[in-house]
Amino acid sequence: MGELDGTTAAVWDDSSGLGAAIAAALEGAGANLARDDGEDVAPFLAAAAERLGGLDLAVICLGEPGPSQPLAEVSDENWQRELDDQLGTAFRGVRAALAQMLPRGRGRILVTTTVESKLARAGATPYVAAQHGVAGLVKSVAHEVGPQGVLVNALVCGAIAGDGDEAALARIERGAIKRPNTAAEVAAAALALASPAMSSVTGTLFPVHGGTVPY
């Protein structure tokens, strides 16, 4: 018996590997799972809910930042693109998930963010602003839908082994565990928050970053 037997879950993944690890963990716990095939997040979640016969859990794994650029040189187009890729995607995904969950009076939504949802990163200001926006979205919407049985959380992920750039490596050195995180660690946290038995964790920026964020 898995802890997610009978749970329907959809994982939308624009990241480099987090979605696959989370999907494997959910499937290992018995979830009935749908994964995207490159569709946009909202139509994917709607189709997944229809195919699975309802949606208990939606996982939205946001993508990587665009190319590094000082804010003084960022064009309107690049600013808009980053906001849309991160915050826009999170918004459309959460809204689509709520369309499935609110009528049923229950649901769990997880959005993967990075430490840039809380911290600065020079050269990535549009991404940092967008990620901070995602954190605000998660906190606020949690208060809107909490009484209706839907919990919304963000996983704040540290640099994942294998994809750290210079800024990420410097941050790891200032953290507690002095190593990158692993996708499996993110997946284990996702699994804990996905449990239908969990009722008290919402609006939380759940840390999986080895102590690289001070608050």
């Binding site: 953290g175 565990i177 804990a192 102590g211």
Partner: protein, 259 residues
């Protein structure tokens, strides 16, 4: 196969309430657990109710003294030879009052019970964890470790200090394979809350139910914190898969704390 198979855990203040729930969740995942509380009678009852045979030991001791902490952590070392997981759950306050009227005794007892116990047990457990380069420390802090509340200044100060200890200690031992985190639950309807909560509520002219309802109003879920959820996150932090989480103050409060 449980997530904590073969692990030895010490949970202070665990004959009832959230400590007991954490201890039971650990046992369910295969851990051996030292329970602790001040009352031998309540401890014996807890051991009998958990019904896990030799996997659970109870030590009657007050962890508001170093000697008490030595007995609790020492039991795990003597019986099972190691401490893999320490949960500093014991803590609380007495005679809550506004700062303007608070006694020295209230602050002293609260700090001994909440902060000093965490410090002593942490130090004793680290003496075993550091040479083995492995360990998990989970401090059961509180929403009051992040936010202020009237008439609970001693408790708020103690829990804020526990959170500070958590963050700093995590940096000291992170490279040694030891994680240190704090859980920050919102109000839970435990029997301890029934005792102390009544006094704090009365100081504010509220009944206990009104006081609990006030906590629920602040949460996104409009409900108080479920004890089982705190235990579930403690299992994650204590497990192998929790190795990447350290120095964090994790809210389990239905979205109450603003950060």
């Amino acid at each position: 196969m449980g997530k904590l198979e073969g692990r030895v855990a010490v949970v202070t203040g665990s004959s009832r309430g959230v400590g007991r729930a954490i201890a039971e969740a650990f046992v369910a995942e295969g851990a051996k657990v030292v329970l602790n509380g001040r009352s031998e009678e309540k401890g014996s009852q807890a051991v009998a109710e958990i019904g896990a045979g030799e996997a659970v030991r109870f030590v009657a001791a007050d962890v508001a003294s170093r000697a008490g902490c030595e007995r609790v952590v020492g039991e795990a070392l003597e019986r099972w030879g190691q401490v893999d997981v320490l949960v500093n759950n014991a803590g609380g306050t007495v005679d809550p009052a506004p700062v303007a009227e608070m006694s020295d005794e209230t602050l002293r007892v609260t700090l001994d019970w909440t902060l000093w116990s965490t410090f002593w047990c942490t130090q004793l457990a680290l003496a075993d964890m550091i040479p083995r380069r492995s360990g998990r420390i989970v401090n059961v802090s509180s929403l009051e470790g992040k936010c202020g509340k009237p008439v609970t200044s001693a408790y708020v100060a103690a829990k804020h200090a526990v959170n500070g200890l958590t963050k700093s200690c995590a940096y000291e031992v992170g490279e040694l394979g030891i994680t240190v985190n704090a859980l920050c639950p919102g109000a839970m309807h435990t029997d301890i809350f029934d005792e102390v909560g009544v006094e704090i509520a009365a100081e504010q002219g509220l009944t206990l139910d009104e006081f609990l309802a006030h906590f629920a109003t602040e949460a996104a879920t409009k409900e108080i914190t479920a004890i089982e959820d705190v235990a579930a996150i403690a299992v994650l932090l204590a497990s192998d898969a929790g190795a990447g989480i350290s120095g964090s103050l994790i809210s389990v409060d239905g979205g109450t704390a603003p950060f």
